[in-house]
């Protein structure tokens, strides 16, 4: 299943213009800051208002002139750059928060060393831990499209490499995976395509 995108988002001082065919597998999105990486991911997830154009995911229409599928019905999952967990839930309940959590969660908790954090409340974790938890929970929800905004930005090298591995194996189950990453390391680049975005314009 691939994601076909032809959409624009107009802001006062910025315009996103995306014409993309995102094939299954990992796509690394690169661009300078302010180039519209986050806006593109948010538009795909359905979180941006005033998105015009069409977005189709396989046979499903997400956006057209006549309809806009709400965020929760898209079966896509976006992880923002600095995710915050729900403070009124424990880390475990935050991890299980996806409507479609799969059995793989236990395995991911073990490999990302999250077990000692499970009983803490959602606001008692560091930024790096929150990012790891948010990525793990997104992977465990097995979305059709996974959108990650700088998923390694707060990770030490060990976890960043672990995450690349997890994304690679997830790419077999998650049809389309788009990750914003300033400088994909050699090992990350081997798996997937690189897509450049410049001044809001992106073509592929």
């Amino acid at each position: 299943m691939s994601l076909r995108v032809e959409c624009t988002v107009a802001r006062a001082a910025f315009k996103l213009d995306a014409r993309l065919l995102l094939e299954p597998g990992i796509t690394w999105l690169r661009g300078t800051s302010g180039s519209g990486k986050t806006t593109l991911l948010r538009a795909l997830a359905g979180l941006e208002r005033d998105v015009l154009g069409t977005i189709t995911c396989g046979p499903h229409v997400w956006l057209s002139a006549t309809q806009c599928l709400p965020v929760h019905a898209r079966r896509s999952c976006m992880v923002p750059q600095n995710p915050r967990l729900w403070p009124h839930h424990t880390v475990l309940r935050n991890l299980e928060a996806s409507e479609h959590t799969q059995g793989i969660l236990a395995e991911l908790i073990a490999s990302f060393e999250l077990a000692p954090l499970l009983e803490r409340s959602g606001d008692e974790v560091s930024a790096g831990e929150a990012q790891r938890i948010a990525v793990v929970r997104a992977l465990a929800g097995a979305p059709k499209v996974l959108l990650l905004d700088e998923p390694f930005s707060a990770q030490p090298r060990l976890f960043a490499e672990l995450m690349v591995e997890a994304l690679k194996s997830a790419a077999q189950k998650v049809p389309v995976l788009v990750a914003v990453h300033h400088d994909p390391t050699g090992s990350a680049l081997e798996h997937g395509r690189v897509l450049a975005i410049e001044n809001g314009a992106v073509r592929a």
């Binding site: 929760h72 995710p83 928060a97 409507e99």
Partner: protein
């Protein structure tokens, strides 16, 4: 039922109704454009800037004994809405709506947007998100909205007087009974009712203040 007991009962019912109506409206309005949201907020705020007698007057015009809606209510329940206990609750609810709506709106918008968006991208519908994220995180604000609504409803005089009258034992709340005591020269009675309501008001304001400090 004593006027004070009726006041408490009316306060609880009106606070519950105003909270439910406000919450349902805010939930539906959150997907609307900002301009529509402000229009709705203005309508809900209107009773705050109206003389209470005007509210009572319009209630009589809309659901009074000689109106289509009023007759419909009477044929369904056997008694008229105006000058009944249910009428007292309706008048108090309208009076409490502005303060409850505004407090709830503030409480819900103070929930960080990212927590709400998180629930959406994890596959939860907006209604489920309301119960999963927004209400739990806005609970102190909700509690102060209910408390303020309760006191506003207990304190209503004009709208209740116009729409439900001041029938002792039936529709006479403590605020109306105090006025009757005063007119009848029973200063002792008026003073004891006033003291109870002053105490209730102080407890309510203190509670709301504590809740605000806790949530900030």
């Amino acid at each position: 039922m004593s006027p004070m007991a009726l006041s408490v009962l009316v306060g609880l019912s009106a606070s519950f109704l105003a909270t439910t109506v406000s919450l349902a409206t805010l939930f539906v309005a959150q997907s609307f454009r900002v301009r529509v949201q402000s229009a709705i907020a203005s309508i809900f705020t209107l009773p705050l800037v109206m003389p209470p007698t005007v509210l009572g007057y319009y209630l009589l015009v809309l659901v009074g004994p000689n109106t289509a809606l009023g007759r419909l209510y009477e044929s369904a329940t056997g008694h008229s809405l105006a000058f009944s206990r249910a009428g007292v609750v309706v008048a108090a609810t309208i009076t409490a709506l502005p303060i409850v709506y505004q407090a709830l709106s503030t409480a819900l918008t103070s929930v960080p947007k990212e927590h709400v968006e998180n629930a959406w991208v994890l596959g939860h519908s907006p209604l489920r998100t309301l119960f999963l994220v927004q209400l739990p995180l806005a609970r102190t604000g909700m509690l102060s909205a209910c408390t303020l609504g309760f006191m506003r409803a207990v304190g209503d005089f004009g709208a209740t007087m116009m729409f439900a009258g001041s029938l002792p034992g039936r529709t006479q709340t403590a605020a109306l009974a105090l006025y009757d005591d005063f007119l009848a020269g029973d200063l002792e009675g008026a003073s004891s009712r006033a003291r109870i309501m002053l105490l209730m008001g102080f407890v309510a304001v203190f509670l709301v203040g504590t809740l605000r400090r806790k949530s900030s």
